[in-house]
Structure formats: C-alpha cells, structure tokens
C-alpha cells in the first residue's frame, strides 16, 4: 500500500517540486523585472519551448520503455532536410509543403523503426544503437546537404513556427497538441500500458503475451516522429535546414526527462513531470538572459537544480518511509 502510494506521490512530487520552483522564479522575476511577465517575453518563451520540448517527449517515451534515444537530434535534422529538399523540388506551393511534412514524418518514423528493430530484435543496448543512429542520420543529412544549409524555403512554410494565432505562437499550440496526444497515448491506450509494463520488466511482459518487439518498434517510431516534428518546427523556425541544428539538445533533453522524474531504468515517468521540467528550464533560461547572467552559470544551475530536486525527493521519501 505504502509503497505504491509512495511511487505515485513521488512522481507527482517531482512535478510539484518543479511547479513550486517555477512559481518562485516567476514571482521573483515578475516583481524585479516586470518585462519578464510581459507579453513579448511570454511569447518568446512559448516560441522556444516546442522544439526541445517535443524532443524531450521523444527521449521520455524511449526511457519509459527502458531505453534511451540519443538519435533524436539526428532524426530531427535529417527529416527537416528531407522536408526542405522535397519542398524545393516540388516548387514550394502549399501542396509541396504538405508533401514535405508527410515526407519528414515518414523519415522520422522509418529512422525510429530502424532504431526500434535493432534494439528490439537484435537486442542491442539502446544507448549504443541510438548513438550510432545519431551518427548515421547526421551523416546522411550531411551527405544530402554537403554541409551548407538549405535555404530559399517558401514563406508560408516559415509561418508555421513563426506565426501566431490569437497571440499564441503556432509552435506552442503544436506543443500543447502533442502533449495531449502523448497523455492519451501513455495513459489511455493499450500501447501506453504495455510500454510501462515492458519498461518495468521485459521478461515478464513477454510472459504476459505482450509483443515486446512491436512495442519497442512502436516506441522508437513515435520517438522518431516526435523527432521529425521538432525537425519540421526547426526548419520552419529557422527557414532553412542544416545537419547541425540543435546539436546541443541531446543532453538537454536527457536532462529534462530525468529532471521530470523519468527513471533511466525504465517503467516510470509522467507527462506532467516532463512538462513541468520543460517549463522550469525555460523560465530559468529566460531569467538568466534577462539578468544578463553568463551562459555558463545556466549550465551550472541546471546541474544544481537536477541534483537538488533529486536529493530533496529522496530525503522526503526516506522520512516518509520511516514513519
């Protein structure tokens, strides 16, 4: 009894701790720097969140399945580049944009399926497979572009990530949409239940008739599709496609997932935790920019926040299990 309520509470507790931190930062910054809560800063934050937020979801889902996906950035750039190439070759009209987006999503899906197949069928550790995958997909991206960015993309495509609806950036709406889909996938579908069970114990899930290979491939395919979504957003946001955009996001997304309470051993992690952790990191990052603090301090602070929150939850949990 105690144990499971603890587990439930623990995941929620991390989300709660993150929420408290976020509120404190927002209040402090709001009071000292009124601009922080101004429309344009909020908008700015909402524009930044989707790219790495969606990547973090991909990382999260792979980690819940007991793996990890280090190839996300590679997938993002490769599918972004494919989208750009398709768009340019089809003339840049609306039809070409839709085709390009579909092409990008299928590239993400295929890359993910490839990862998933090797991880699930050949049973090679996910860390290795996706690390090789990162190299491989970035390599293909580099072969396509030969280095320089692909530019000259249609204006209307650029509006996807740079436009707003009712003052809210479209990217943020996409992000909310993806969050809802992810919640649905993880909490309300057979797949979601299976992925948590499989992440907890691969052998037992097999002995429960769960098709591990299918779930693994599905997981990495979803992760890959998230990667390509982020890729499309990046291409649209930067109105160009290149093989090295977002190269710093791999470790960042790992940090976000872990900070959001996703257990690297698999089977545990909730969407709300990860969303809170994405928001907190963005708040910290924007605050530091407003405060004109050196970027290194930001890196330092992320590590510190991670360790402090993990330590705090550990201490609270230990005290609770004592009484």
């Amino acid at each position: 009894m105690q144990k499971i309520t603890n587990i439930i509470k623990k995941t929620d507790r991390i989300a709660l701790a993150l929420l408290v931190c976020s509120v404190i930062i927002t209040v402090l910054m709001g009071v000292t720097h009124p601009k922080f809560l101004g429309k344009s800063n909020l908008q700015g934050m909402l524009i930044q969140i989707p790219e790495y937020g969606i990547l973090a979801f991909g990382m999260m889902i792979a980690m819940i399945a007991g793996g990890i996906d280090l190839s996300l950035v590679g997938i993002a750039n490769l599918s972004g580049i494919v989208a750009a190439v398709v768009m340019l070759n089809l003339g840049g009209n609306d039809f070409s944009i839709v085709t390009a987006i579909l092409a990008a999503l299928s590239v993400g899906c295929v890359c993910g399926l490839f990862n998933g197949w090797i991880i699930g069928y050949l049973e090679i550790p996910a860390m290795l497979v996706t690390l090789c995958g990162l190299q491989l997909y970035t390599g293909i991206a580099l072969i396509i572009t030969k280095g320089p960015a692909i530019t000259g993309l249609p204006e209307s495509f650029s509006n996807i990530a740079n436009g707003t609806i009712a003052g809210i950036p479209i990217g943020a709406l996409v992000f909310v949409f993806i969050t809802l889909i992810l919640c649905y996938l993880l909490y309300s579908t057979v797949y979601g239940k299976c992925v948590y069970l499989m992440g907890t114990n691969m052998v037992a899930s097999r002995f429960s008739g769960i098709n591990n290979l299918k779930i693994t491939m599905l997981t990495y395919a979803i992760s890959g599709v998230f990667g390509s979504l982020a890729g499309i957003l990046m291409v649209s946001h930067y109105n160009s496609a290149k093989s090295d955009y977002g190269s710093s996001y791999t470790l960042l997304t790992l940090l976000i997932a872990v900070l959001g309470g996703v257990n690297p051993n698999g089977g545990r992690g909730k969407v709300q935790g990860v969303v809170m952790s994405i928001i907190l990191l963005q708040l910290v990052s924007s605050s530091f920019n407003i405060l004109r603090v050196n970027a290194f301090v930001k890196t330092f602070a992320w590590g510190l926040i991670l360790l402090l929150i993990m330590t705090a939850t550990y201490l609270i949990e230990r005290r609770q299990s004592r009484d």
């Binding site: 550790p125 690390l131 190299q135 390599g139 580099l142 790992l254 590590g303 360790l307």
Partner: protein, 332 residues
C-alpha cells in the same frame, strides 16, 4: 580442451579482434601507407587519453553504474591545474598530476555520495555533476585556452620511448605518456582479476543485494569506483593538456558517449557485472581505427560521419549478436 579453444575463439574479445583485423586488412589494401609501424605508433597516441577514460568507465559500468561526468571532470582538472601552476610559478610534473588527480578525486567523491548514499540513479547523478562542473569551470576560469604552459610540462610531450623513422624521413615517436594508460590497464587488470576488492566490483554489478548479504562493503566499493574514475579522469585531463600543449576548458566535452560505445563494443555489458580490461582496450582500438583512417580509406569529407556510424553499428551488431548467440547456446 577442444571445447576450451572453441569458446576462446568465440569470446567477445576475439570477435572484436576479427573485426579489427578485417578492417586493418581493408585499409591496408586501399592504402599501403597504412602497413607500417607508424600506424601502431599513431594508433597508440590516438588511443592514449580515450583509453584512460574507457578504463574508468569500464570499471563503473562493471559495478552496475554509468559515468557521464568524466569529460567535465577532466576539463576542470586540466584548466585548473594549468591555471594554478602558472599563477604560482610551479613547474613540476608530479605536482601537476597530483593536482589533477586530487581535483578529479573530489568530484568523483561527489558522484559517489550521490550514488552510494543518496541512492540516485548513476546516470542522473553524473549528468548533474557534469553539468555543474562544466558550468563552473567556464564561469571560474573563463574560456581562454592556456598555451604558455610551464616549461617542463610543455616539453614532456616530446619525450618519447621509441622513435620510428620511415623512408620519407618522417619520424613517429611514441610518447612516454603512453605509460600512463599502460600502467592503469595493468593496475586495473590486477585489481579486477586478482583482488577481493576487484571481485567485489563485479559482485556489486552482478547483484547488489547479494553483494550486501555476502558481506561486501558495498558503499565502500561504490565510493572507490567513482573516486577512482574521477581520479583517472583528472589524470587524463592533465595528460591531455601535456599532449596537446594546451589547456582548454571545454575541449573534451561531448566525448562521453563515444567512450561508452567503445567500452560496450569491447564486451562490457551495459547492465553491469561483465567487462574486461582486454576487451576495453580492443573496443577503444576499434573505434580509434575507424575514426582515424577514413582519409586513408579515401572517404570523402561529408561521407565520414555516416561511415563512422555505419561501421559502429555493424561492429556493435556483430559483437552483440555473437554474445547473444553464445549466451543462448550453452545452458548447463
């Protein structure tokens, strides 16, 4: 006896050996310049620092953990040592190494506290420490590269054990610093194979609860492993500084995943409990061979990333599949 030979020929280590040989033959055929003693010298030099990292990573993984903080620790050790020595006009080689080792050890101890006492998953703990360390390093010491190292330190890179001059008059000298990884490998081998403490590391990685029940000092072992890893990372940082004749506060960042890949290719199981020194050396050799002979192979620049990825994935697949096959076939 026949059975023994057969199992020996199909060990993970031997599979990596086959891949290395295959690759070497291929490169040698494409570019005869490869078939020379210089290749051995070059390869040793290339592997030098990576091998130190890989050794401590291997030990950490064997104990059931993982460490992604060593590049940050090495960078801090390198730049801090460089700065302190310059500021205080110290020009003493042992002092440099001791300083690097101490800095590394203290950060390793931080890892150990988080993992062994606070019981944080190792990936989380070391990721956090890595982020903090690299941020602090740049904030404290700045981004500036130090190139005016103290004289003795600066000259050490030229001291060599063995020099080979080829027909064109190019000299290939094997630096004396190669002794550091050799020493560490030897030490690691003795420790892991022949001391109870080393066996304890395997025991902890195999089943931490059983290790506790058996009476191993599990906390002590974890502390040792992470402090050892930190210390070695510090030493690797100083070694790197001497070899490159410069201290750079962020140059090693991002190398962690490649090192882990090398270690796992060498037969260390990411889940802990399995791993050998020989395997690790072979894994590092394989990756070094791939990464450093693409020009020899004539691979065009923008294909190189892809080719490295391809060879890595083939390498891991073959070793993993073979290992799986072995595990499935024998059951007594």
């Amino acid at each position: 006896m026949k059975y023994r030979i057969k199992t020996f020929l199909t060990t993970n280590e031997m599979i990596v050996v086959y891949i290395i040989i295959g690759l070497a033959v291929l490169i040698g055929l494409v570019n005869p310049a490869f078939n020379s003693i210089s290749t051995v010298v070059n390869l040793s030099r290339t592997m030098l620092v990576t091998l130190i990292f890989a050794m401590c990573e291997m030990m950490v993984i064997v104990s059931g953990g993982i460490d992604v903080s060593f590049p940050a620790i090495a960078c801090l050790a390198m730049i801090a040592t460089g700065n302190i020595m310059l500021k205080n006009q110290i020009d003493n080689i042992p002092v440099a190494f001791i300083m690097g080792a101490l800095i590394g050890a203290s950060l390793g101890a931080l890892n150990a506290i988080l993992i062994a006492i606070i019981k944080m998953p190792p990936l989380i703990a070391t990721l956090g420490v890595s982020s903090m360390t690299s941020g602090a390093t740049l904030a404290i010491f700045g981004a500036k590269i130090i190139t005016n190292l103290p004289g003795k330190l600066d000259k050490l890179y030229k001291v060599s054990l063995y020099t080979y001059t080829n027909a064109e008059g190019i000299t290939y000298s094997l630096t004396i610093l190669i002794l550091i990884p050799i020493f560490i490998c030897l030490l690691g081998w003795l420790l892991l194979k022949f001391t109870m403490f080393g066996r304890g590391i395997y025991a902890v990685g195999g089943d931490i609860r059983a290790a506790r029940i058996a009476g191993f000092n599990v906390k002590g072992i974890l502390f040792f492993v992470y402090i050892f890893s930190g210390t070695m990372a510090g030493i690797a940082g100083v070694t790197y500084m001497i070899l490159m004749r410069a201290a750079d506060p962020s140059v090693l960042m991002g190398s962690e995943m490649m090192v882990i890949a090398a270690v796992v290719m060498g037969g260390t199981r990411i889940t802990g409990g399995h791993g050998t020194v020989i395997g690790t050396i072979l894994g590092v050799t394989l990756i070094a061979l791939v990464k450093n002979n693409l020009i020899m192979l004539g691979v065009p620049a923008h294909y190189q990333t892809f080719v490295v990825g391809l060879i890595m994935i083939i390498g891991t697949s073959i070793t993993s599949l073979k290992a799986k096959h072995i595990a499935n076939s024998i059951k007594v």
